[in-house]
Subunit: 247 residues, 2 copies
DNA sequence: CGAATGCTTGAGGACCATCAACCCCTGTGG
DNA sequence: CCACAGGGGTTGATGGTCCTCAAGCATTCG
């Protein structure tokens, strides 16, 4: 058992510890989870909508999204997932969900059996609370997206998404909030914020001309964090992270 | 301990058992939760945004809503709560949330201490999973709202809300899906679906003229359930209830 | 080098917001 | 009993934000 844990499990553990205190034994239990890696190429669905699963998907590298499908085929993205995110941890308690999960880039995913996750919960009840707390943070983000899509104008919606991803990427230790890779097409951004790709394009141009943020070639360069958060009305408290070392 | 449980606790238990199997002992633990009732009059905030709480709020009677407040003061409602709903059960693991909770009508609320809820979890770890599952259902509804607000047109958005409330009210045993009390103003509906009160009014007129549903005097009369679910593109699976006795 | 995908920009139009007026109902106080 | 105020519902006119359609350009990949 001295085998080193998969780095993605360490990322997942770090994500849990952003919000929960875990004992050494609990940490070890998470790191010793049995994981089956699979490779998924860009634009492939990992979980089809409405399917029942007996495992959760931990992103080891790449980007994934949760989506809801309309009758006419258009998709609404309801969450983005980056390395270290367990994108359907809640499926442990709700194995049949209405949504699907798609890989946005070539992605490495670790499949972790529900039975294994339940095993850690049985051994360490505190882990159930940690898992629950983790999915609660996701739910808090969902609520914020509703407010963003329902009440903010197009420019603020796009700016808000850029801010959220900046903080999440920084806290995941993947890069800095002022310069990070955004592996999304403008159409995928549009599907997340409830706009069309054409209009997202114009809003990105606005943000660039305003000197807030420049998005080019799948890379975000934040020119003025203060101004960007201002136009987004962004307050990171909703992500329920501790150590929100602002600035 | 033969004291009969508060009826709201029985409703809450029934809600849990819509989604989880609980042993007799676990059920008894839920019913014996200590609760402090308070009366809140319409339009009062129960929990202010950003406040830290050490209790959860169980709705005994009336309607409440979770809301997010914008900078300019306008509100976005992110969830409705009816009798039997524990409107911030997740606060057990995340006591500081960004949102607020407001009473929409005169409402009776039972305050249940987090320590009491944690006590039941310590005694019956399976209850942690039941609570987690319950909040997961809320999160699933949030995700559906994002899709609804982001991608559906105004008429479908309003119709979808009417469908969702119909099913929830029916499953809570409060009344039937085809005729129920809707204790919301058109402005509150607008705050939930991301429209203005004026446009909600027009959409309700559309639904009435189409023969789908008539909303008057805080009462919904469903004229044609099939047609209503059709214009809403409503599929109740996302609510994660079992026994979805359709029709 | 052709095909596919994504980005960019323009022109016109639809949907929904805004503003405004009027109605109804309820409660309050003279 | 009536006057009045306030909240909510209803409808019309006007306008803005964002969608739709379309075309051109850049980049990547076979």
């Amino acid at each position: 058992m001295i085998a080193p844990a998969h780095p993605a499990l360490e990322r997942f553990l770090a994500r849990l510890m952003l919000r929960s205190n875990l004992s050494a034994a609990e940490q070890a239990a998470v790191l010793s989870l049995n994981a089956q890696p699979i490779e998924v190429s860009a634009r492939r669905d990992v979980v089809m909508p409405g399917r029942t699963v007996d495992y959760s998907c931990l992103i080891a590298s790449g980007w994934a999204a949760r989506f809801d499908q309309m009758r006419d085929g258009q998709r609404q993205i309801t969450a983005f997932y980056i390395a270290g995110d367990m994108c359907d941890l809640h499926s442990v308690v709700a194995p049949t969900a209405g949504w699907g999960i798609a890989a946005l880039t070539d992605t490495t995913i670790l499949k972790i059996a529900h039975s294994a996750l339940r095993g850690t919960v049985d051994a360490f009840p505190n882990l159930a609370l940690a898992y629950w707390r983790d999915t609660t943070a996701d739910a808090s983000i969902l609520a914020k997206w509703i407010a963003n899509i329902g009440r903010a104008d197009a420019e603020a919606r796009v700016a808000h998404l850029l801010c959220e991803l900046a903080i999440r990427i920084e806290h995941a230790g993947l890069s800095s909030r002022t310069a990070y890779a955004l592996r999304l097409t403008q159409e995928q951004i549009a599907d997340a914020v409830g706009l069309t790709a054409v209009h997202v394009n114009r809003m990105l141009r606005n943000l660039r001309h305003a000197g807030s943020a420049a998005v080019q070639n799948h890379a975000v360069e934040v020119l003025d964090w203060q101004r960007l958060t201002d136009t987004a009305a962004f307050d990171p408290a909703y992500m329920l992270m501790r150590q929100l070392s602002d600035r």
